[in-house]
């Protein structure tokens, strides 16, 4: 993806501070405080529930959010993001930076030093060969891999010693740290002599270096993991981790109430139960922010959405407060941008949304959209009429959709709801921009890195032959320019103003109507310690290695 990025923005000063001063300092601080010995005495069992079933156990294969819930327990990455968006080392001895020699001054040569004495769950020593294997496998043409971004830029991955590995980059790439932070390292020896890596026995009986070892899986029900007594880092503190699959949110909540579930995970407590959950005895309930933002996304190629007045008027006609407070019980936070509010790059000064039907009507009148006899406006033969789609069966979203439909009708905009089964909705219909408008929850960042050019650059529109995820077909040359420049800079302070500016332009352009930033209602039994909000990881088990019972 960096293929299109020219190298001109790359400065010596930037390279020197690759990964950012803040990140570097707290990273060392963190690794200093972390004990490097396994906890000798793990105690007790935690039952964690998910509403989808994790079934992909090779972390380098295509997977969904819930699968990652298991990876954090079994595997380690080289480095990871903490809750403040800063890196800390896991399998790496330290976070690679220019200062410690991990990254060359031009940002094109990387060298990572690994922790010594780490072993796989089967006792085999962990070495740099495993890292090389894990970084190369995603580009293996015979391997069905989850991603090629980043890996495709790596060349000459070389093992210098069992604890040292180095590689070159064909172009500087700021989000490379985020790529490493989501590359779980898998054992090379598990693939020795395996003909087809896609069907390796490892894929169903994973071996990692993580805090928990695979014990067994009862398909359709649960996965049992046990403490790894030889864990190289801090933890684990619990003897058994059970990951339970409960496809129904009500049943999940009922079991959390009754105590069968200790920690309620992905899809969490549904917002309508928040009030009751907060009154439960012996349970801690906490609203946690997520990086995902909900929006009404337009297909910006459709004639009806060409007039900025239309997009602005529609935004004025969204009763955001009622949607968030009534339908979502006040759980999520209103937002004006795609950037999570916890991010360093978040622009807090964007104009605030207001719900104002008269203003919306006035705006459309002024722009020449004439109300027709059937209550639908029209201008130059274009009717203010469009479909809106989302995943069929997502109740809260469907409610919001119908509510929005009603307020849109009040300004003479006819929104027809056309929801589709997931396989249809997110297939070509979405990827090829066959929709008029959608309601979608998107997370456009990779980890804490703010780069989201895949989603907003005009060269990334799949429907126009671009190879990205800009399915809303948003195109603004100024945004292209800012994103390109920012992805080539490495100092957070230098990148920040560019992203601030870009968010401001997008707030004016309204290629999508931002509704809210997701938040989930997490809950756990009193006495459990560990679950912590982290918008930089996709799932709540990012720090499961240090979860424990305090009582």
């Amino acid at each position: 993806m960096t293929k299109d990025l020219p190298g001109k923005g790359f400065t010596r000063r930037g390279a020197l501070q690759l990964f950012g001063a803040a990140g570097l300092m707290s990273a060392t601080a963190l690794s200093g405080t972390r004990a490097l010995a396994a906890n000798a005495d793990p105690k007790g069992q935690i039952v964690l529930s998910f509403s989808q079933e994790p079934t992909v156990f090779n972390p380098l294969m295509p997977h969904i959010e819930v699968d990652e819930g298991v990876y954090y327990a079994i595997f380690d990455t080289l480095i990871d993001f903490d809750e403040n968006g800063e890196f800390f080392p896991l399998l790496a001895a330290e976070v690679p930076t220019v200062e410690n020699g991990g990254i060359s001054e031009d940002g094109l040569t990387w060298k990572v030093t690994l922790k010594d004495g780490v072993t796989w769950h089967d006792g085999t020593p962990f070495t740099a060969e495993d890292v090389k294997f894990s970084l190369e496998l995603p580009m293996n043409p015979d391997f069905i891999s989850f991603r090629s971004t980043g890996y495709e830029l790596m060349r000459n991955i070389t093992v210098l010693s069992p604890t040292e590995i180095t590689w070159e980059m064909t172009a500087p790439f700021a989000p490379m740290g985020a790529i490493l932070a989501s590359t779980f390292i898998i054992p090379k020896h598990a693939f020795d002599g395996v003909e087809d890596p896609n069907t390796a026995p490892f894929n169903n009986a994973p071996i990692g270096t993580g805090a928990f070892k695979w014990k067994e899986r009862m398909a359709g029900d649960h996965i049992e993991l046990v403490a790894n007594p030889d864990y190289h880092g801090d933890g684990p503190y619990i003897e058994t981790l059970i990951i339970k699959y409960i496809p129904d949110l009500n049943v999940m909540y009922t079991q959390f109430k009754s105590g069968d579930v200790d920690v309620i995970g992905l899809q969490y407590i549904s917002p309508d139960h928040l009030e009751e959950a907060q009154t439960l005895d012996g349970k801690t309930v906490q609203v946690m922010g997520r990086a995902t933002f909900e929006s009404i996304g337009f297909n910006n190629m459709r004639p009806v959405f060409q007039d900025p007045a239309v997009r602005q008027a529609l935004y004025l006609a969204v009763d955001k407060t009622s949607i968030i407070d009534a339908l979502y019980y006040g759980v999520p936070t209103p937002t004006e941008t795609y950037m999570p509010q916890q991010s360093f790059y978040y622009n807090p000064d964007l104009p605030k949304h207001e719900f104002n039907i008269e203003k919306a009507n006035a705006l459309l009148d002024e722009a020449g959209w004439v109300m027709g006899g059937d209550g639908v406006r029209e201008k130059d033969g274009v009717r203010l009429e469009f479909t809106n789609s989302t995943t069929a069966g997502n109740h809260l979203r469907e409610q919001a959709q119908q509510f929005i439909q009603q307020t849109f009708a009040e300004i003479g905009a006819k929104m027809e709801i056309k929801n589709l089964p997931p396989a249809v909705m997110w297939g070509d219909y979405w990827m090829n921009s066959e929709f008029d408008s959608v309601v979608v929850g998107l997370s456009t960042l990779s980890g804490a890195d703010p780069d989201s050019s895949d989603y907003w650059m005009s060269t990334k529109i799949p429907a126009k032959g671009g190879s990205g995820q800009n399915t809303m077909a948003y195109a603004n040359p100024k945004v292209d320019e800012l994103l390109t420049e920012a992805a080539n800079l490495f100092v957070p302070e230098d990148r920040k103003p560019l992203y601030m500016e870009q968010q401001k332009i997008m707030r004016e352009d309204l290629p999508f109507l931002p509704l809210f930033q997701y938040a989930v209602v997490a809950g756990w039994k009193e006495g459990v310690e560990g679950p912590t909000q982290n918008v930089n990881n996709r799932i709540g088990t990012w720090n499961v290695r240090s979860w424990k019972w305090t009582s």
């Binding site: 129904d248 949110l249 009500n250 549904s270 309508d272 009622s322 009534a326 339908l327 069929a392 069966g393 109740h395 469907e398 409610q399 119908q402 509510f403 439909q405 009603q406 709801i417 056309k418 929801n419 589709l420 089964p421 396989a423 249809v424």
Partner: protein, 293 residues
């Protein structure tokens, strides 16, 4: 039926009146008829009598329990009147049920009459297809279809019909097979009437009794199937209400607002039971053999 000049058709009026009499005496069938008529009236006339529009959203009145604020069945999570939605949903669900019945009866009749009339290879092939469709749970097939189509009332009707025509096909085939060799058919053949004429003008009308019974039961089945796939989110999509999709969101609020689940479920049960009762009555009335029971 009256078009043909054969013996059974001449006897028809007598059979008909006897069947009607027997049907009228069937208490359960009459109860079923009353249930269907009441429900249909409520659904098609009811909306005009209610103070609320089925699409009108009022967030301040969400989750009103039954008999509060003028909402006889309460309100849903968007504050819409459940009674208004229930009646509109009834129009949708019953229309889908009827349309699916007509389609599946047509498909089934054609397949059955072809298979029964021609016999041999034609019959073997057609009946193997029927067997194949019957050899997995229709819910599986229906869901597999529903998961991949763009859901709309018309498509839902088509796929329900596509998975429920086999019963009729079997019945018609069996009936036609026995009729095929009877005198009036032989006579028609000797008169040089075409196969198509014989099949659809002579044979099919004489199998009408069992077809009507099967069709009635198919309406019941179609309503159930629509409810189920819409319940799972693959059927009729909101804001168009159907009894099934009204239940779709209800599970979530089972504890806090149980009426959301209870009301549409009862409506489905009443409708389906109505058609089942009538179907049972028709079977007894039209099938002389059933007198033995």
């Amino acid at each position: 039926m009256t078009m043909t000049a054969n013996a059974p058709a001449r006897r028809a009026p007598r059979i008909k009146s006897r069947a009607v009499r027997r049907f009228m005496q069937h208490k359960l069938a009459m109860l079923g008829l009353v249930m269907i008529v009441t429900l249909a009236l409520a659904c098609f006339v009811g909306p005009y009598l209610l103070a609320f529009d089925e699409l009108f959203i009022d967030l301040r009145a969400r989750f009103a329990p039954p008999f509060t604020g003028g909402h006889i069945f309460g309100t849903d999570p968007l504050g819409r009147d459940i009674a208004a939605r229930l009646f509109h949903a009834g129009q949708v669900s019953m229309t889908v049920g009827f349309a699916a019945m007509i389609m599946s009866t047509c498909i089934g009749s054609v397949v059955g009459v072809l298979s029964g009339y021609y016999g041999g290879a034609v019959s073997a092939v057609l009946m193997r297809i029927v067997d194949a469709f019957l050899s997995f749970p229709s819910v599986f097939l229906l869901l597999a279809l529903a998961a991949f189509i763009q859901p709309g009332p018309a498509m839902i009707t088509v796929i329900i019909a596509a998975t429920s025509w086999m019963e009729v096909a079997r019945i018609v085939q069996a009936e036609v097979k026995t009729l095929r060799d009877q005198d009036f058919v032989q006579a028609a053949r000797m008169l040089g009437l075409s196969g198509r004429w014989i099949m659809f003008r002579e044979l099919l009308p004489n199998a009408i009794g069992p077809i009507i019974v099967a069709a009635t039961l198919t309406v019941a089945r179609a309503i159930l199937l629509e409810a189920y796939i819409s319940f799972l989110g693959y059927g009729i999509q909101p804001p168009l209400p159907s009894w099934g999709n009204m239940l779709n969101g209800a599970q979530q609020y089972l504890q806090s607002a149980p009426w959301l689940a209870i009301v549409p479920g009862l409506a489905i049960t009443i409708a389906v039971a109505g058609f089942n009762f009538v179907g049972d009555g028709l079977r007894d009335a039209l099938d002389s053999r059933s007198e033995a029971r």
